[in-house]
């Protein structure tokens, strides 16, 4: 808002998408109009046709998916600016938008820019002749994973065949894929319930994010990771008790260095109660945890949480992948964390400043490889589990992450896609037409927890099958033999420096 003016400035922003309707197919049922949370479509009564207000369209395709006669589709409608390699349309339009609003541009989902996606430059091995591949349909194929701190050796009493000092708390993952943190408020409760139920069915974990845990989800506690973030939203004794793992959120790949953003329009009565904040207020968690200004402070919080949970739960620390991630991770391991989660440059968000999302942090593959290497150099890799987050798109990415050194991965965008998300980046608005990133009851009820859980479990089942096929192809029948086994990776089109950081040879060698 510019001083002295009380009216909104006229927008010069061109509409991004164009809704096309085949008039001869359209039966005027107006499903599209009712389904569009963005109010981009309306029924033109005088001409008896569907018309559009394209400026509102985000390209979420809810209308396309639900049109009974497939009469509607959405096209991108880029303006033909004078070609300019520097001033590409996005740069021009971002400046236009900020000239109107005077604010930070908020966006949703992960970095969509063209930084190298190393997953795409890594290829996997398979057995030929000298080593039989193993058929997962006919032979056992194990993908179970345990998360938590392990000692270097075991102290066994051979008389009784018991452990003299039992291991600390470890958590079982039947598939090495967990649902990453997405808070209630950013996400509809129906979707969280779907995540919680799918995680329970598949024997893995879902993560509450920083928005507290709704009471209706307590039954899934054994598969729940509760997050303790800088805003401490919803953190209570009860919250910690209703979890399997406690995670301290230091940073997030989409917005390293800053706190969470939940726009006030998403803070309904239920969200407010769960977060323990007033209704309708913006929930802006502080950039740092104000009781953690250094590594020894982190240690105090880790042990405060361990004390509070009577040492029965692993404590995870989630950081964004940044330049010194390896040294930071080493410090976190030494501070007593049982799990380190690292979220990379392409990690997603429900709302983040676009400038930060697209410019801050490092690619997860490099962060992961350097952290795993550093922990091994220091001989402390056993002490923590390493979870890789941010930009995992399919089972191939999962296998590559594990081969680079991850114990398990977090997925979020892929999970939302499973329940309908078309990655339109409209999350901060709270108008999600798919009922995913919204707390508007009218929109949110589009998500049926039964069906969401089924789709999510299906996604994990599909990936699990694929992981087993790839493992078997490599002649491996247990995931722990792939973990950190970079011999099964090769790089294609990478520089020597990149290969060295990844600890991978170039293909052909």
């Amino acid at each position: 808002m510019i001083t002295g003016q009380s009216t909104r400035l006229r927008s010069y922003l061109p509409p991004r998408f164009l809704a096309r309707i085949m008039d001869d197919r359209c039966i005027r049922c107006q499903v599209c109009v009712r389904q569009c949370g963005w109010e981009a479509l309306y029924y033109d009564e005088r001409n008896d046709c569907i018309n559009s207000t394209e400026a509102n369209c985000t390209g979420c395709h809810r209308c396309v998916a639900l049109c009974p006669t497939h009469a509607i589709w959405i096209e991108e409608r880029p303006l033909q600016y004078r070609p300019n390699f520097n001033w590409r349309p996005e740069a021009i339009e971002d400046a236009m938008q900020q000239a109107e609003s005077g604010g930070i541009i908020l966006t949703g989902m992960g970095d969509d820019k063209g930084q190298t996606i190393y997953w795409d430059k890594l290829v996997l091995n398979a057995s030929q002749v000298t080593n039989p591949s193993i058929d997962p349909l006919r032979e056992p194929m194990e993908v179970r994973t345990y998360l938590g701190r392990r000692p270097d050796t075991l102290d066994i009493d051979y008389g009784s065949m018991k452990l003299r000092s039992p291991l600390g708390p470890l958590r079982t993952l039947e598939v090495p894929i967990m649902f990453s943190a997405i808070s209630y408020g950013a996400l509809a409760l129906q979707v969280q319930e779907g995540l919680a139920r799918a995680a329970t069915e598949m024997g893995t974990f879902w993560n509450t994010g920083e928005g507290g845990l709704h009471r209706s989800l307590y039954p899934y506690r054994d598969h729940t990771i509760v997050q303790v973030a800088s805003g401490r939203f919803g953190v209570s004794r009860e919250y910690l008790d209703n979890s399997g793992i406690v995670e301290i959120k230091i940073g997030q790949g989409a917005k390293p260095g800053i706190g969470g953003h939940l726009p006030g329009n998403k803070v309904t009565a239920e969200v407010a109660a769960t977060r323990m904040i007033p209704m309708g207020t913006d929930a802006l968690s502080p950039a740092p945890q104000h009781d953690i200004y250094s590594i020894e402070d982190l240690r105090m919080l880790i042990y405060a949480l361990k004390e509070a949970t009577n040492y029965t739960k692993p404590v995870s620390v989630k950081i964004a992948g940044v330049h010194h991630a390896a040294a930071i991770a080493s410090g976190i391991a030494r501070a007593g964390a049982d799990i380190i989660a690292v979220d990379g440059l392409r990690g997603s968000t429900g709302a983040a400043p676009k400038i930060i999302r697209d410019n801050v942090g490092i690619p997860i593959e490099l962060a992961l490889a350097s952290i795993d290497h550093r922990l091994r150099q220091e001989g402390i890799r056993n002490q923590v589990s390493l979870v890789c987050a941010g930009g995992i798109r399919n089972a191939g990415d999962v296998v590559k992450a594990i081969a680079l050194g991850a114990d398990a991965v977090y997925i979020a965008t892929a999970a939302l896609i499973a329940v309908g998300c078309h990655v339109c980046q409209g999350c901060p608005s709270g108008r999600c037409s798919w009922g995913i990133t919204t707390t508007d009851p009218h929109l949110a009820k589009r998500q049926n927890p039964d069906l969401a859980a089924r789709r999510l479990a299906n996604l994990l089942k599909g990936w699990e099958h694929e992981i087993k096929e790839m493992l078997g192809g490599m002649g491996i029948n247990s995931l722990e033999s792939l973990r950190g086994n970079r011999d099964h990776l090769r790089g294609v089109g990478l520089s020597d420096t990149e290969l060295q950081i990844l600890g991978v040879r170039h293909a052909g060698m």
Partner: protein, 406 residues
Amino acid sequence: METDHAYPVGGGRRSPVERLSNPYGDDKVIAACSLFGAMDTSGRRFSGSLVATAIANMHDRGNGLGGGFAGYGLYPNFKDSYCFHIMFLSKETRHEVEDFLRRHFRVHHGEEIPTRRGARVSNPPIIWRYFVDVAPAQDGLGSATEPIVEADYIVERVMQINTGISDAFVFSSGKDMGVFKGVGFPEDVADYFRIEDYAGYAWTAHGRFPTNTTGWWGGAHPFSVLDWTVVHNGEISSYGINRRYLEMHGYICTMQTDTEVVAYAADLLMRRHQLPVELAAKVMAPPFWEVIDRMPEDQREVALALRQVYGSLLLNGPFTVIICRSGEMIGLTDRIRLRPLTAATSGDVLFLSSEEAAIRLVCPDLDRTWIPMGGEPIIGRLKTSAPVVSPASRNGIPVLTGEEQR
């Protein structure tokens, strides 16, 4: 430990040993093989010609690019000294190594290992053996010469020779045992080293079929560190992580062979971490999770913890190994038995072999033969009361018939 990320992209960062053992810079040398092992658990010593005969019967499982033998109880006159079998590519290297040994050990005796001229082996290096003791108060060992520290000291010195001195390689470094190996068919290697002149209470033998043409004698099996020896048939697909895990514990894998990894894993688990062999086998070839889930509570806790803690040492992919140390011989296959292993007993003698025929050739009168389950360790152990006895004859095959044992 500058390893892991330091993949040998160019030749410059590769050690001489690695350049020799792995001339093409493969990340792992692939080989298939024949194995044979025999142990007289009563401690009676028998000639190496027995295992040489047996392994020769599996000629076609190798391709003439590697054969080798390990014997235990070979040096009764020096049984309390560490015996280093070392190969050199030049006389200068030998002098360098001898200086090194004198600096770090008390050397009792050194001699060239006797060989037979005209044996069909290619490019034999110079091979010597040295009997040495760890002198107290040397090299930071201080006065505390407790055995574990002493063994670590030996391992470190072996690593130093293998990685630091060009063209020298330690075949074996244990007490009262030794490794004889080279490039050729195993029967030719036996001929070259006059294996029939040695007597031991346990022997392993190996014939190799590598898929590249490394002509380096150190690359043949058995692989050894301290008194551990490993002969191996298979390709360990978990090699990458096994190696990285062992590097975390100070073992530097210089030869890019998965067999080396087995030897170091055995040393770490059984010597340094003091696991009994039965549990070490459960680390290398653990029960499946669903088997662990069904175990009675008293067994489950340890089985689960072993897998949770030592998952990185699970040996995956097809393998059969015979791991030996003083007084103990272990045969083990991978969990789904993708490579063959036959076990047999005759009186006090335990045989392990890739093929049953090789056992029957040297000992037709067997009490029992069987094929072990995948991942099930077959363990031969000296009866502790039995003294190690001298062979009846240096040339004959002294034992192995039922009555004589009982």
